[in-house]
Subunit: 204 residues, 4 copies
Amino acid sequence: MRTSRLEAFSDGVFAIAITLLVLDLAVPPLAESERDGLWAALGREWPSYFAYLVSFLVIGIIWINHHTMLTLVERVDRPILFANLVLLMTVSVIPFPTRLLAEYLLEPEAHVAAAVYSATMLAMGAAFYALWSTITRRPGSLRRPLDPETRRATLRRFGAGQVLYAAAIGLSFVSAIATLALHGALGIYYCFDQLTPSAGDDDR
Amino acid sequence: MRTSRLEAFSDGVFAIAITLLVLDLAVPPLAESERDGLWAALGREWPSYFAYLVSFLVIGIIWINHHTMLTLVERVDRPILFANLVLLMTVSVIPFPTRLLAEYLLEPEAHVAAAVYSATMLAMGAAFYALWSTITRRPGSLRRPLDPETRRATLRRFGAGQVLYAAAIGLSFVSAIATLALHGALGIYYCFDQLTPSAGDDDR
Amino acid sequence: MRTSRLEAFSDGVFAIAITLLVLDLAVPPLAESERDGLWAALGREWPSYFAYLVSFLVIGIIWINHHTMLTLVERVDRPILFANLVLLMTVSVIPFPTRLLAEYLLEPEAHVAAAVYSATMLAMGAAFYALWSTITRRPGSLRRPLDPETRRATLRRFGAGQVLYAAAIGLSFVSAIATLALHGALGIYYCFDQLTPSAGDDDR
Amino acid sequence: MRTSRLEAFSDGVFAIAITLLVLDLAVPPLAESERDGLWAALGREWPSYFAYLVSFLVIGIIWINHHTMLTLVERVDRPILFANLVLLMTVSVIPFPTRLLAEYLLEPEAHVAAAVYSATMLAMGAAFYALWSTITRRPGSLRRPLDPETRRATLRRFGAGQVLYAAAIGLSFVSAIATLALHGALGIYYCFDQLTPSAGDDDR
């Protein structure tokens, strides 16, 4: 099976998940804006803008990396389709922890919401690892076979990313706002640092 | 008419239906989380996570099987487009019974919600059967003609799936939770067991 | 400019509009289902299922006809893109009159909702007419030039469809339910009767 | 990296953002329609129809121009993907200021909503400028190299558009309705006047 329709379906899920985030940018109710002005009422909504910004970045970067990964793939079979489906589930669920964190960021229980958000990222990272591992384990999936050493190296790099997501869960109990900022920073870092460098660089 | 735009449209509908499911993962209201904590409030929402998980899996598997089916198809005409549209309707309606079942899973009337959910799956299975039957009945639709025996065999297999969905309607009146679990198990089973094996295996 | 990206964007809009319809299938509130059972509470929601069914069919058929039309087109320019954008607007707005009609179908003012629904279809038909007229007026747009007589014949057929939509506005003031049924019947009729027969039949 | 999957993802985001606008066309509540009729109740919702119309047009035109720009592009790298992602963020956020402006258009604080709406357009214009600037700065991105003079000319034209968006922010404090009308007029103007004329005209 060729990758084209897998890409089309995945692109659709990424595009929808990233765009659905806007539904949680709440318009302040009239009553609230009458109290001390619409600027102030909008300003108080900053946690939802911040969460929107970070989640948009995160989903966008996962899309870029998913895209990069699939340029290396020649053909897919059912286990790969299934592993990809699990990754898409962790991506398309992101609007939920985003909404949760936006709602609770300034509340006493913000750490729970931040931990759920970080756990979602950890699950997404694990699904990405599982997808890459499934692809590279199956002969004939890749356009060019990966030597075992390079494969181990790319998997190690994914593993390192997982340590950071696990650390974000820990950070949640210190500061929810810092946790969200960390996810934003990780997003930007992953954007410019390829997840599959040695395999990808000379291939395009 | 080539299948490419049919696939693009179908992929879009599948991708949106699967991603819209996230809108029904409810964030617990502040008041409720203040009573006994956000962890507990989130925990009480487990029916919506469970229903999300199963429906995501179900739509994902239907997509994989739809994808597999279309790799066998050479060209489509209006009756096939119409049969495909009916299948897409049964797929894109899935967020509704999902929401219904999530809402009522722990209520006394859970069996009604589970029966509606199972009936949707039965309708989806029937639409899949009708689409495959329409495609294989029309000369020139398939890349390689199917001999009558193979055609009957594949249709029989679809029929067997329908018996399971009908059984799920019966199970609804015993236990709604077991019904939802059954649909999840059927999804995983269908993922790894091709619906159109003899026609599909040697074709890719 | 080739038609491929126009198709991709249009397919996206069609697929999203058709799938968003499911958001208006309301789950009956718990209190209501406790009064006389969930079956009865679901049954009372029939106007929303009926409106869903008809609008799903209508958008699906417009997609099929849009698809058929574009198979005849070789290249598009800005006026065609703009005419297509206007058509997409009339399509993507359909969930709104659908929601309106579902809400008001059993109310004394159902005729207003039915008239708004029918007017949306009239606008959609007019946009379809304008798109086809724009495409056929521009030299080099079509894969094969259309002789003036065939062009007039296809435009006349679109015009005939418009008369039916206008009649549906009239019917709205007699019976909203009959109006919705008429739109469903028109959808099925248009599905099997091509809008551009003489131009399309021998071209594929 | 080829542009095809970038286009597919971008098309998805554009298509979803433009279609999600329909969710904010509110059906008047029954109680309100009973007071003085459904026609009157619908009429009072005109700010939401007006905002829908303008935002639909604006997103549609950005899509057309994005499309035109990408026909000139041969290959994309990570900085271009990132710049495109930022543009997509400014596009997919548009339903939020649209909802805000629709809600507040007739309120005393309409100017705040209009300024936020205009600022979103300014950000979108800046992201478009940055994307074009990034693409043209990287050797090998374009199908045909752009001479420095043409590049400066196209960037100047983008800059001119930005002045108009900045003026719209100023106009917000005079009249929110005029501001929305200005954005609609700019949309139509941009539709028929290409943003990248000298580079684009002879290329297709």
